[in-house]
């Protein structure tokens, strides 16, 4: 009986692995660098990427004023119970409208609301959007939590915690003067033009969170990944009333798509890393096949060679991984925060995004890099083991005789004309054509290898393309909520007054003339309205009011229909006049365009749908009659052209419909229709000087405090503040990936040229000049780059489009950024030209003689 004893050769194999790495220092450094870069890329990209998405979430928190995933208008006790029992919900809070500040001694139209937030809402949901809090949330009935912004809107300056102020407030049917005590001041993002009141105050107003006009119910889910089906199921479980609405925040609603997009990106990154390590390992091991053959000739078994290569991989992988993680940590934890700091982003509570260590990222990096090194080393190890000693001594990685043999055979079998050599088809070709053909042959002779090089280059470029596209679209997102994309929209704040006589013409002809006179103003577009009633009639008015009550009111229509019939003045609405340009914009946004001529002539009108469940076909063709407010005899009837959902053209929303007609019709109908808003377009976008001039004109008049405005400049500032340094980090990721892609190409190409030095020496020996060799190599480089760009153009663009659309919840147009792409193309061409030239110079130094004695095939 023969016992096989385990041969203890671990020490010798480890020593040999270490020695071979030392002796082939240059090659070892390249391999370690490859692993290091891949580990760095994965670690850095995951860490910085996670920070990026955290920042995106922070941006949404800031824009939404709190950390929540869904908002519901109105919440009943039954729904509160359902939410309490739902294990998927992490927390929920009530954020309720409690009234408004009607006037103060300094401002008649402060436009400040009164809000109440329950404990969870204030302390947990809204906390991440706050940057500073002084004092405490109101407890007593007269206490308020304020922002300096809201105080200024009321005309108060220099008030602090503990100070009091007096204001007239309205809440439900109540309107009275009250002295409020400031219990706290906060700054940050969210409802800044609001005073937060106590629960006691809210209770005494008689308002109810169940009322959709008051209660806003904010829900934060435990799980951040939720499919459309789950969203629908949650909405169904809430059993919404007809008036209630539930919306998911965009990043939550599209969470699955966003995650799929991120996974796609991570996959491409891993592919980049795999190709980089695989190529270098393959070239390195393949270049050492003679060495392994030598080991076999002196009696090393295949298993031992495998063990040797595994140990080499382990050493290379270990050093590279440690270096990569260290480098990644350095960049993530030192460089990024310092960049963040230098950009003026505060690292504190309420806005903090500290790059934090996550063990999962480290684990993922170790796992992915480890697997990649293992897979990348498997095939070369297999080659080293399966190659017989004699074959190994003659092995050359760039020459595959069998494959070329088959190629030649297939060419003949296919009956194609020979390229040259046949008496009938012999053509003289120029040296350039010959070099071009040789470069082409080099690419096509080993399609798999050429494919891998092109794919690795294309992967890097595709990731660059993808991130550049996402970032460009992010940067271009302008958040312009102004109608017809005006640069500024000023609003008449007296419109919020309860009494009709308090709603006055603050934008008179003088103001309009002054605005038009400003040099930087290109266009002013005033919107006028007249207050109207819509007298009861069975055909249309009754149908509308019935639906309105069903949707928006808690009391049945029947209880008030008699009052409506008798006193339509108690049910006021507005007749809004719009210009031809406004009409065109409305028609373009509407799915069912209306005849322009009939509209402008005053024959037809449009109605604002106001959330009612009417289809255009339900009302189109019917007639609607309006009467001047306070004069039942002055009426006008229009044929209804259709319904619109755009709420840019509503003035005072009443129970009856807002009737939108041509501006000439309003002017004829009312003596002096009030201008309730003006759209202003500048000659140059974001012209701060023009904006300042406009504001000074508006401030100068007698109604200097009775207007409010929204401008693109202000929106841009707010968005930029909310975005923080998201853009810079995104650019950083794109650049790292592009660099990795290029390094992959450089490594592969240099390795490729090194492995072909015998072939190049042969060409030189028969008289190919250095310039001709360089030209051939550069052509090869350009072919690789061309191939990579074709792959990027087709597969990369398709993947980018898919990732983009899956993450494009804003509905922004897919536009490939031309400038970054052009830069990438120029850089890649430069690299493809310079790398072969530099690599050739390196091998050229060693001369020809050393190599021509080696076998070519």
């Amino acid at each position: 009986m023969v016992f096989m004893l385990k041969n203890n050769n671990t020490r010798v194999l480890t020593r040999m692995a270490g020695r071979s790495l030392k002796s082939g220092r240059r090659q070892s450094v390249t391999m370690i660098l490859a692993v290091l870069l891949s580990a760095f890329m994965l670690f850095g990209v995951f860490t910085v990427g996670m920070t990026y998405f955290k920042m995106q979430r922070l941006q949404n928190i800031r824009l939404g004023g709190g950390e929540f995933d869904a908002i519901m208008y109105g919440v009943t006790d039954e729904q509160l119970r359902t939410c309490r029992e739902n294990p998927d919900i992490l927390r929920f809070g009530v954020h309720a409208v409690s009234g408004y500040i009607d006037e103060t001694e300094y401002d008649n139209t402060p436009e400040v609301t009164l809000m109440w937030a329950d404990e969870t809402c204030w302390n947990e949901i809204m906390a991440p959007a706050r940057e500073r809090v002084e004092g405490h949330y109101p407890v007593e009935e007269d206490e308020v939590m304020v922002t300096e912004y809201a105080l200024e809107k009321c005309g108060f300056h220099g008030l602090n915690v503990g100070d009091t102020f007096t204001a007239v407030y309205g809440a439900g049917a109540v309107k009275c003067e009250k002295t409020f005590r400031i219990s706290g001041i906060w700054e940050g993002f969210g409802e800044k033009s609001a005073f937060y009141v106590s629960e006691k105050f809210y209770e005494q107003t008689g308002l109810d969170p169940a009322d959709v006009a008051s209660g806003r119910f904010l829900i934060d889910f435990r799980q951040k990944l939720i499919s459309q089906e789950e969203q629908d199921a949650f909405i169904a479980s809430m059993n919404l009333g007809k008036q209630q609405r539930l919306f998911f925040t965009v990043d939550f609603a599209f969470s699955v798509q966003i995650l799929t997009g991120i996974a796609g990106l991570a996959l491409v990154i891993c592919l980049c890393a795999y190709l980089l390590i695989y190529n270098i390992m393959y070239l390195s091991v393949a270049g050492n096949i003679r060495y392994y053959g030598l080991l076999q000739t002196i009696g090393m078994t295949g298993r031992q060679i495998c063990g040797l290569i595994r140990r080499q991989m382990f050493l290379v992988g270990g050093i590279g991984l440690a270096g990569g993680v260290l480098l990644g940590s350095g960049v993530s934890f030192l460089v990024v925060p310092s960049v963040v700091k230098s950009l003026g982003i505060r690292m504190g509570k309420g806005g903090e995004i500290a790059v934090s260590f996550h063990p999962l990222i480290l684990l993922l990096t170790l796992l992915l890099t480890g697997i990649t090194v293992y897979i990348a080393g498997r095939k070369p190890a297999k080659i080293a083991v399966t190659c017989s000693p004699m074959e190994a001594l003659g092995y050359r990685p760039s020459a595959d005789v069998r494959r070329r043999g088959r190629l030649g055979g297939s060419r003949r079998k296919a009956g194609r004309q020979p390229r040259s050599g046949c008496k009938d088809t012999v053509r003289d070709i120029s040296p350039s054509a010959r070099i071009w053909r040789m470069a082409k042959e080099q690419i096509t002779k080993d399609k798999r290898k050429a494919g891998i090089v092109m794919l690795s280059l294309a992967a890097g470029m595709s990731v660059f393309l993808c991130i550049a596209t996402l970032l460009t679209s992010q940067a271009k997102r302008e958040y312009n909520y102004n109608f017809r994309d005006f640069d500024m929209v000023v609003k008449n704040s007296t419109m919020r007054k309860e009494e009709q006589e308090e709603r006055v013409q603050i934008f008179d002809q003088t103001v309009l003339d002054r605005l038009d006179a400003i040099e930087g103003v290109a266009e002013t577009a005033p919107l006028r309205y007249a207050e109207i009633t819509v007298p009861w009639e069975p055909e249309f008015a009754d149908m509308w009011m019935r639906e309105f009550y069903e949707t928006w009111m808690n009391i049945p229509y029947e209880d008030e229909v008699e009052e409506y019939k008798e006193f339509p003045e108690n049910f006021g609405s507005s007749l809004v006049g719009i210009s031809k340009a406004d009409f065109e914009a409305l028609n373009a946004a509407s799915g069912e365009p209306v005849d322009e001529e009939e509209f402008l002539e005053g024959k037809t009108c449009l109605l604002y749908r106001d959330g009612l469940e009417f289809k255009s076909s339900d009302v189109t063709g019917k007639s609607v009659t309006c009467a001047a407010y306070g004069d039942r005899t002055h009426t006008q009837t229009f044929e209804i052209g259709g319904l619109v959902d755009v709420n840019d053209y509503t003035a005072l929303l009443g129970y009856p419909p807002t009737i939108i007609v041509s501006e000439d019709v309003v002017r004829e109908f009312a003596e002096e229709p009030i201008i309730y808003k003006i759209g202003i377009r500048y000659r140059e976008e974001y012209d701060a000087k023009t904006e300042a001039e406009i504001l000074s004109v508006l401030d100068a008049g007698p109604h200097g405090k009775d207007y409010s405005y929204e401008s693109r400049i202000e929106m841009k500032k707010e968005v930029e503040k909310a975005q923080g340094n998201m853009m810079e980090i995104g650019i950083g990721i794109a650049l790292i990936l592009a660099l990795i892609g290029m390094m992959n190409y450089v490594n592969t190409f240099v390795g490729n040229i090194r492995s072909r030095r015998v072939e190049i020496a042969v060409l030189e020996s028969i008289g190919m000049t250095g310039r001709q060799v360089k030209k051939m190599l550069i052509l090869e480089g350009l072919l690789y780059a061309g191939g990579a760009w074709v792959i990027t153009g087709i597969a990369g663009t398709a993947a980018t489009y898919w990732i983009y659309q899956s993450m494009n919840y804003t509905g922004a147009e897919f536009v490939i950024p031309a400038v970054p792409l052009l830069c990438a193309a120029v850089i890649s061409v430069l690299i493809c030209i310079s790398v072969p030239a530099i690599a050739y110079r390196e091998i050229e130094k060693k001369g020809i003689v050393e190599y021509i004695k080696m076998p070519v095939c």
């Binding site: 020459a399 005789v401 069998r402 070329r404 043999g405 190629l407 030649g408 055979g409 003949r412 020979p418 390229r419 040259s420 050599g421 046949c422 008496k423 012999v426 003289d428 070709i429 120029s430 040296p431 010959r434 070099i435 040789m438 042959e441 080099q442 002779k445 072939e759 042969v762 060409l763 030189e764 020996s765 028969i766 008289g767 190919m768 000049t769 250095g770 310039r771 001709q772 050229e844 001369g847 020809i848 003689v849 021509i852 004695k853 080696m854 076998p855 070519v856 095939c857």
Partner: protein, 229 residues
């Protein structure tokens, strides 16, 4: 005065190997007449290949001068040497050194094409015919036997009508029969196309086929052994 197609004077090639200086060639004066067939013999490491590389412009001497077809190689740039090789020298290597991606015909005409000259099709066809490669002209090197590959290499060396053909152990990778066959053909075509041929070999039998034998030992030509008719 006799006209030499190849003439070296005081040719030296020294290498540094660790702390030692290796004298691969140590003052070689070597000449070849036009249309002469010279065999260079010597032990492994004697310097015969180095001499051939110097004459072919593949390597540069440490000292001394090489004249080929009346032109001195010293002072030539790399580009000039490459052009010199493709116009004046035809190489035949032990490993054939055919470009694996090009077929036989393409390999044969490659130096001419790289020179931007018109390929003499009749001459090329004649060479292929003499070397029995007409049928194989479209085959890639990988599809040929060793003997056929070496014949293709000979065809390539002849095609550009060089001043001299340098063959470095052309039969080293071939079996005896193929070796003699290839060498026989080489001698025939060299005569037929009036070529000068310098051949390196270990094989005394092969060397006997030459007009003259030159023996190199320790980087120097051994006196008294270099004559043969």
């Amino acid at each position: 005065m006799e006209s030499w197609i190849v003439e070296t004077r005081g040719l030296k090639k020294y290498y540094r190997l660790g702390d030692h200086i290796v004298r691969a060639l140590d003052g070689v004066d070597f000449t070849v007449r036009e249309q002469e067939f010279v065999a260079i013999i010597g032990r492994s490491g004697s310097g015969k290949s180095t001499l051939l590389h110097m004459v072919g412009g593949l390597d540069t001497p440490t000292e001394g001068e090489v004249m080929v077809a009346g032109r001195s190689l010293s002072g030539m740039t790399k580009e000039e040497l490459a052009i010199f090789r493709r116009r004046k020298v035809g190489f035949i290597f032990q490993n054939y050194n055919l470009v694996p991606d090009l077929n036989v015909y393409e390999n044969v005409v490659l130096p001419i094409e790289l020179d931007g000259k018109r390929v003499d099709r009749e001459f090329t066809a004649e060479i292929l015919d003499v070397l029995k490669l007409t049928e194989k002209r479209e085959a890639l090197p990988g599809m040929l036997s060793g003997g056929q590959q070496q014949r293709a290499a000979i065809a390539r060396a002849l095609a550009s009508k060089p001043a001299i053909i340098l063959a470095d152990e052309p039969t080293g990778n071939l079996d005896t029969a193929s070796g003699h066959d290839v060498l026989g053909l080489l001698k025939v075509v060299a005569k037929q196309f009036q070529q000068t041929l310098v051949l390196i070999t270990h094989d005394q039998d092969i060397a006997q086929m030459a007009d003259r034998i030159v023996c190199i030992e320790d980087g120097q030509i051994r006196k008294g052994r270099g004559l043969h008719a």
